[in-house]
Symmetry: C2
Subunit: 349 residues, 2 copies
Amino acid sequence: MAKPSGEVEVPNKQVILKHHVVDGIPQESDMELRLTTITLKAPSGSASILLKNLYLSCDPYMRLRMRHIQGSYADSFVPGEVLYGYGVSRVVDSDHPDYKIGDLVWGITKWEEYSLIKPPWQLFKIEDTDVPLSYYTGILGMPGMTAYVGFHGICSPKEGDKVFVSAASGAVGQLVGQFAKLLGCYVVGSAGSNDKVELLKTKFGFDDAFNYKGEESIDAALKRYFPEGIDIYFENVGGKTLDAVLANMKVHGRIAACGMISQYNLREPEGVHNLMLLIAKRIRFEGFIVFDHYDKYPEFLKKVLGPIKEGKIIYLEDIAEGLESAPAALVGLFYGRNVGKQLVRLSTD
Amino acid sequence: MAKPSGEVEVPNKQVILKHHVVDGIPQESDMELRLTTITLKAPSGSASILLKNLYLSCDPYMRLRMRHIQGSYADSFVPGEVLYGYGVSRVVDSDHPDYKIGDLVWGITKWEEYSLIKPPWQLFKIEDTDVPLSYYTGILGMPGMTAYVGFHGICSPKEGDKVFVSAASGAVGQLVGQFAKLLGCYVVGSAGSNDKVELLKTKFGFDDAFNYKGEESIDAALKRYFPEGIDIYFENVGGKTLDAVLANMKVHGRIAACGMISQYNLREPEGVHNLMLLIAKRIRFEGFIVFDHYDKYPEFLKKVLGPIKEGKIIYLEDIAEGLESAPAALVGLFYGRNVGKQLVRLSTD
Ligand SMILES: NC(=O)c1ccc[n+]([C@@H]2O[C@H](COP(=O)([O-])OP(=O)(O)OC[C@H]3O[C@@H](n4cnc5c(N)ncnc54)[C@H](OP(=O)(O)O)[C@@H]3O)[C@@H](O)[C@H]2O)c1
Ligand SMILES: NC(=O)c1ccc[n+]([C@@H]2O[C@H](COP(=O)([O-])OP(=O)(O)OC[C@H]3O[C@@H](n4cnc5c(N)ncnc54)[C@H](OP(=O)(O)O)[C@@H]3O)[C@@H](O)[C@H]2O)c1
């Protein structure tokens, strides 16, 4: 169909989910690249905006969307359709009064080069651009807010608290550790390789760290690093790690249930056995989801932009190049291949 | 040995733990009656008091004391020694300035007719005696406080909340349900017999109740009574019930972890599988122990004494007669033999 003048049709690569993935780590072959076209126009009267996607974020929760999971906040991805998730994008056309061409946004977009997004959307305007734009997929975006509201909002932390963080070198974990250190806590993290452990100790300022894959018993490791017990556990992993942590919590401890990535690829989640200790130790175990707390985003930005620019909070990214590499980057999260926040760069302009 | 005049030696029956009980429901034969004697005198300079025990309380947590349980707030009972627990007693001699002969107290005493108790003790003076004295083992004692601080303090209840209580006809559960009704909640309880279910509906004013032993699936039962989900779960039972409840909680629900009686007799606790739902549903799951909250006892008494006397809060007791019946009464908790608060009457004078 001929386009009215001024409307440009361009190629648009997409990442498609081929089928639901019930159990097991998803494979690249569960997704496929599809070449389509798109008209770079937000149709008049549609109130939509047309985005050029610059960065896409690979997030563990996307695994849950690859299947039907009962009672989850997340809908399933639809087989045959393009994946969606967080990203950083530039507005290339707008039929909505709140957005104009050239605006930068972060929020939910689709895994493709250009996306036509209709309201209601979950988008935040990017005002501060003297930090890397990619940071809005991480420290200045959803994972940053997750660390902030999860740690400060759920964990009731105070100076001197003993804090344990699992998946500690990742998008969320590296920040939780730094927030805890800024408050004067003792912080130990676990991660899945010796290199990550080194990073935690040397780059992110954790007091200590261990490679959980090299430990015969997580319980024994925790006893080594927390001989008097754990006040705060920032839970990213679940399963056996959670059981070991429960056995090592202090009385009146707090557990922020952020994620349980070790369970995402199982058909049935493992059983956790030590829950009676919640009573004996009067533990508060509280789940949260970042999007309930986005009203605190401006407050968060104000708190972290300065320290980031001064180098007092640092952030490590793992950037894959091009949409073609996105499926592998997403899958890599479940093998721990990412070192720092995993994202995909589609374009720099 | 001849006693100084005025010191009377009397027979004193005791209940002794014969050996630790690792798993399985404890048997009467794990305990034995021992006949000793005691001098009815608080030795001068000992700062102790001599109690005549009138009522003894049978409480599920005593099962945990029958073995070594790691990380528990409770020490184990010592094989060969007398059991201890909550009771109502009269001071028959005192070498302590705070207590005088004739004072009535409730708190930790021993499973025997007379007990010499040394400080530090956990005793509360009974001032109000125009209610049944036995109530101080239940509604006016530890279980009453448990229901009060657990429900009002941990569950953040509000009018209209949908509340589920397990072990609902017991010492704690019958009160949680009544407190919830007084606040205008919708309350459903589960219990282990049809008679208990009838009691819940007719005597305690629960909106509904079911016999969990007659249900093929607790999940299905919960879906029947809570088609829109549960705001508050008062957890007395643990295990499979907890898993089913998690699947039926509403977003932002609260679970007060009070007890997990279905796990107390197992060598290893069962696994709980649905903990990822804590995140998806942003649930707060919080353990508590009543003795952290005893500072609120005066406030509690002020709130409940009136309604009890006016019959607006009722309390059902299951009273066994004589110390000889105490082991069977304790064991009976784990078969659900008690209908209401299980206690043992030793004496009425
Ligand atoms: N509640 C919320 O709103 C919210 C928001 C964002 C994220 N989250 C959750 O937060 C957690 C961390 O997310 P993130 O974005 O920061 O991811 P990430 O840590 O950057 O990447 C995932 C990491 O998890 C570790 N991992 C993978 N499989 C594992 C297993 N079986 N056992 C233990 N560790 C495993 C790997 O690191 P190792 O090499 O160390 O194994 C991997 O690098 C996830 O559970 C996620 O779902 C929750
Ligand atoms: N956190 C604290 O400070 C605190 C203080 C007091 C009590 N608690 C806990 O609160 C709970 C209730 O105590 P309570 O004094 O009110 O006891 P209770 O309910 O008066 O007596 C125990 C009842 O539990 C039920 N039960 C026994 N085995 C069970 C099983 N395997 N599965 C399901 N139900 C079972 C039985 O009733 P059915 O016939 O209905 O099965 C039995 O009558 C216990 O878990 C206790 O440990 C905690």
